[in-house]
């Protein structure tokens, strides 16, 4: 990638970041609803009878179980914490000069789909961890210490590691020709 294109990347990045924030703010209400209902569906796939409730309340998910009293344990969890990484991922993709070339839109859609799957899984593990540790005697009776450790580990992994690292991984993975050209290594392989 010639030097002027590299300069364009740095000039485009703040604008791409601002645009991504605006886009994220616009789609957030609908995305929250889709995210909570998909996570609820995923949880219920593994339940007989299906009892998990993941409701959308503004920018938060309300997690509970329909087989418990309405006033028993409910967890309110910020959905923004789960899907804010859409902003840096989208900003990095849009800042690359010529990102639309070579099926760029298709790559962008694939990248966003993978991010969305990671968000559903992240919420899924939050729900499972809450059931394993947040419902008092019921949790103690239904989950052993190993299960709690494993679920805690998975929750941490999706909450911190996946959230913070996916933008760079997906950016390089889906736009590798453009990104490595940007880095100055396009002619190696």
């Amino acid at each position: 990638m010639p030097a002027p294109d590299r300069k364009r990347f740095w000039r485009r990045l703040p604008w791409a970041l601002a645009g991504s924030v605006v886009l994220w703010l616009v789609i957030r209400p609908a995305y929250n609803t889709v995210l909570t209902s998909t996570a609820q569906g995923l949880c219920r796939l593994f339940e007989r009878p299906p009892v998990t409730q993941v409701a959308c309340d503004g920018e938060a998910a309300i997690i509970g179980r329909s087989d418990m009293r309405a006033d028993s344990g409910r967890l309110r969890y910020s959905l923004t914490q789960i899907h804010f990484n859409l902003i840096p991922a989208l900003a990095l993709a849009l800042a690359v000069p010529g990102w639309t070339r070579r099926q760029g839109w298709q790559r962008l859609a694939s990248m966003l789909l993978l991010l969305a799957i990671s968000h559903v899984l992240s919420l899924f593990w939050h729900v499972q961890f809450f059931f394993a540790t947040g419902l008092g005697e019921w949790s103690a009776a239904n989950y052993g210490p190993v299960a709690r450790e494993v679920l805690g580990g998975l929750r941490y992994f999706f909450d911190i590691a996946v959230t913070f690292t996916l933008p760079l991984l997906l950016w390089v993975g889906f736009f590798h020709e453009r990104v490595f050209a940007l880095l100055g290594v396009e002619r190696e392989g």
Binding site: S78, Y156, F164
Partner: protein, 168 residues
């Protein structure tokens, strides 16, 4: 699928694979309880003291208890995810995974670590003043603005390192 097969044969594909592997190892190590208790918590406390010092220089009567930074006007708790370690790991693993001379990697890691530390300090101080003057904006500013900025900063730093230093 053809795209993925093509990717794994490229330098970018190798980078992604090595980067994902190093990240997984790095985050797993940080998650281990002994490491968390003896390294991560101490580091977070250190970050809280750094922020206290910065706020004191700005005229605030700041104190630290554990990982809670307090002044008579506002208090913030610095948790995992707020201490900058994740952004540092994103950058450091990117540097380690990219083919470059060891010396250049070590210099990159050292400078990147300090730069992200400094950026995170600015973030904590900015969030503190957001809490003081616009507490209703604190939540959005914390997650939406600053966490996004921290990721973009770490990635930008890595891009700069590769462009200017890793290959020169």
């Amino acid at each position: 699928m053809a795209g993925w097969r093509e990717l794994v044969r490229t330098p970018a594909g190798r980078f992604v694979a090595v980067y994902a592997l190093i990240l997984t190892v790095g985050f797993t190590i940080l998650a281990l309880r002994p490491v968390n208790d003896s390294v991560v918590n101490r580091y977070t406390t250190f970050v809280a003291h750094e922020a206290r010092l910065a706020l004191s220089l700005l005229g605030e009567d700041a104190t630290v208890q554990g990982q809670i930074l307090s002044t008579p006007r506002f208090s913030v708790a610095i948790y995992n995810g707020c201490n900058g370690l994740e952004a540092i790991l994103v950058f450091v693993c990117g540097v380690l995974a990219f083919p470059a001379a060891v010396k250049r990697k070590l210099i990159g890691v050292a400078i990147g670590f300090l730069a992200i530390q400094a950026f995170n300090l600015v973030r904590i101080v900015a969030l503190f003043y957001t809490g003081v003057y616009k507490p209703e904006w604190f939540g959005a500013s914390h997650v939406l603005v600053w966490q996004s900025l921290v990721i973009v900063f770490a990635v930008s730093l890595w891009v700069l390192w590769v462009q200017r230093y890793a290959r020169s």
